[in-house]
Chain length 410, copies 2
């Protein structure tokens, strides 16, 4: 049985949540790696659960490339679509909101409430556009640190995230070793590969080739929606896999009457990609996409922290790690996770590693998986017990046999 046949996993909804905003970097602006500084700036964030009196139960969630602070729950009674990681976060779920104080913020450079290129530049009163400073994973993490200071959290039980969120997790573990008890980087890499940079560059070029992009100055005018849609289509190809696409679409046609001999979308995979492109344009800022991909391309833990050596980079880390990769992820393949695990182990760090068999490609970390849920739930429970000096507690999803079984795998 595939892990992914478990369509519905146990646990309740995180319920209503509100997007909050905090002004940070004031009066002291945030120094950025590019040499410029940013401040005051806004972070949009959401929280679930309560901070314990000992302030020792905070789990920070880091979102992926085009994600946001809305990791779980609903904004209103009418809201039908929960947050992007609702399968993972909620009462009785692996990131259990009855036990943990869960925080997720939109990264700086983004467009979901935090300051980014679509925000107003206080110096000009106009949107920053391409005058916004290039931000790195390190800058994003430093901004998150300021948010935690604001929330009165001085130590994280865990920092968790997949893909570009996983890069932030790794950055946290190395940049603020004294603040992190456990780190869970999923479907990610310590260093963006040439292939990953290539895909991002194609996507960026698609945006920048759109005349409506206009050097980034499209605010209040026509949006570079064609370019951004193509960029998103590139992304979606990389998020799936050959096998996932074969199973999901194969060569099925929209129209059962056969080939059209025209250039309208006719294969289902074509319609899927065009749909994803169109949907994305409604919710995401093209310049923010440029900045997010650039931050991912710049990410190299070994360059930033180890003079080119990943072993040296992890010499700074002090937390427990749960590293998870997925067999069909060809954007950040398992060999890249194994490299980070080896570097962690060479530093004597406490590392659990699991490669989950999944045909869903890079997207797998966002999809229901009893194994992933079990791994994360147990790892957090054990970490909390250790932090509190209590005996280890194993996490069991209510009624989930598969999860109980998986508890032994850790």
């Amino acid at each position: 049985m595939s892990e992914y046949e478990v369509e519905s996993l146990s646990g309740g909804s995180a319920g209503r949540v509100e997007k909050r905003f905090v002004t940070l970097g004031d009066p002291e602006p945030l120094g950025l790696e590019c040499g410029r500084s940013l401040g005051p700036f806004t972070l949009a964030y959401e929280t679930w659960g309560d901070l314990s009196p000992a302030r020792d139960n905070c789990v920070l969630i880091c979102h992926a490339l085009t994600g946001d602070s809305h990791a779980a729950g609903y904004y209103s009674e009418e809201d039908r679509k929960p947050g992007w990681w609702d399968i993972m976060i909620g009462p009785g779920k692996p990131i259990d909101t009855t036990k943990y104080f869960v925080v997720c913020s939109n990264v700086i450079g983004g467009c979901m409430g935090s300051t980014g290129p679509s925000s107003l530049n206080p110096a000009t009163g106009a949107p920053w556009a391409m005058d916004f400073p290039v931000v790195t994973m390190g800058d994003m993490v430093k901004a998150q640190k300021l948010l935690l200071d604001h929330l009165g959290v001085s130590r994280l039980l865990a920092v968790v995230g997949g893909s570009v969120g996983g890069m932030q997790v790794l950055e946290w573990a190395v940049r603020y070793p004294g603040m992190v008890a456990a780190a869970i980087p999923l479907a990610t890499t310590c260093e963006h590969s040439a292939l990953a940079i290539a895909f991002n560059e194609v996507a960026r070029q698609a945006i920048m080739a759109d005349p409506a992009w206009n050097g980034g100055n499209y605010y209040g005018a026509a949006l570079p929606e064609y370019g951004l849609a193509v960029a998103r289509m590139v992304g979606h190809v990389t998020y799936l896999s050959d096998e996932a696409m074969r199973k999901k679409f194969g060569r099925s046609l929209q129209d059962r009457c056969g080939l059209s001999y025209r250039f309208e979308p006719e294969f289902q995979v074509e319609s899927y990609l065009r749909h994803q492109g169109r949907k994305f344009v409604e919710r995401f800022d093209a310049n923010a996409f440029l900045y997010m991909t650039k931050a991912a391309d710049y990410f190299s833990l070994q360059q930033a922290w180890g003079d080119g050596s990943l072993v040296n980079a992890f010499a700074r880390a002090a937390c427990r790690f749960l590293v998870v990769s997925f067999t069909s992820d060809w954007l950040y393949p398992t060999y890249q996770s194994k490299a980070m695990v080896q570097a962690m182990k060479k530093n004597g760090l406490d590392v659990s590693f699991c490669e989950i068999t999944a045909d869903l490609g890079h997207d797998a970390f966002l999809l229901p998986s009893a194994r992933l849920n079990s791994l994360v739930g147990n790892f957090l429970a054990v970490t909390q017990a250790r932090e509190r000096g209590a005996p280890p507690v194993s996490w069991t999803a209510p009624g989930a046999d598969a999860a109980r079984e998986d508890a032994h795998a850790l």
Copy 2:
């Protein structure tokens, strides 16, 4: 030692060659699979070597997506760049022009001399643009058949090609079984996968999103060069591999002073892709790119010839096959070649199959490889001997030890 460390393989130049043009489909137009017809139309073609008196030594070369008739040799004394498969075709080379009469034509729907969307529509006197009929691999092969009729060739010693050229090879073997003694499909597939369609669709959308594309009516005006460049960049990512990109570019920067924190190309892989995009715009027609990719997406040998069964499709074939795949080709992975080999074998066909270890991705079939040269050279030599009822002859590249050794592998 990697096969690809053999940078320079033996054999001489095919020398001067001229691009010729023939008018076909007149007075009888070519019936196309879409239901329309085309004629009169032009095929651009080139030949090397001489047709034997018995007319039994013709090798047809089928070019890939954006290739042309110029497979080998030079157009003039000043010409510094040989044809695209010069490493394979020439005196003493695997496709030996002292032994074989080698023919290569530009496909219909293309833009390198054969009739395609940039050609004038005789009915209107204006370029066809998107009024050009959608052509298939079958249509391309039927046009090639008319060229061979014109050249007085009624039986091919072999038909050879890689990638989209390999699709034509497979189509030849099934469509005209009585005309083909041997077929050599390289780095190809019997059926375009959802992943391959997805990449093509992203590329097409990049072109069609360019306002200069203008519904295909850009002739005599500004070309959709940005869209076409992005489309080509998508292609180039798929032609390489994770490993090839890592070895070729890694995270090397153009500028050794470090990261620029700007959006100009700085990683070498970015510059490479932009360069490939720019170069392509100078030589290729955007509409032709749409038609070529569509023909590839439509290709399904099992649908066209076997009611969905590849085994049934190959029941029509009668030739010998040499099937070659490359380990790092993720556009048309080895499992797809193995599927065709199995279907051939189930029909009792004479099949040789080799998966060549190569880290160069899909492009590997175009790059120097002692093993590929040896496989092709020997297969052709043995085929010719069999056709003539002579004892088998093994092909040896002058001075190439690796090639001699490989001869046994066949």
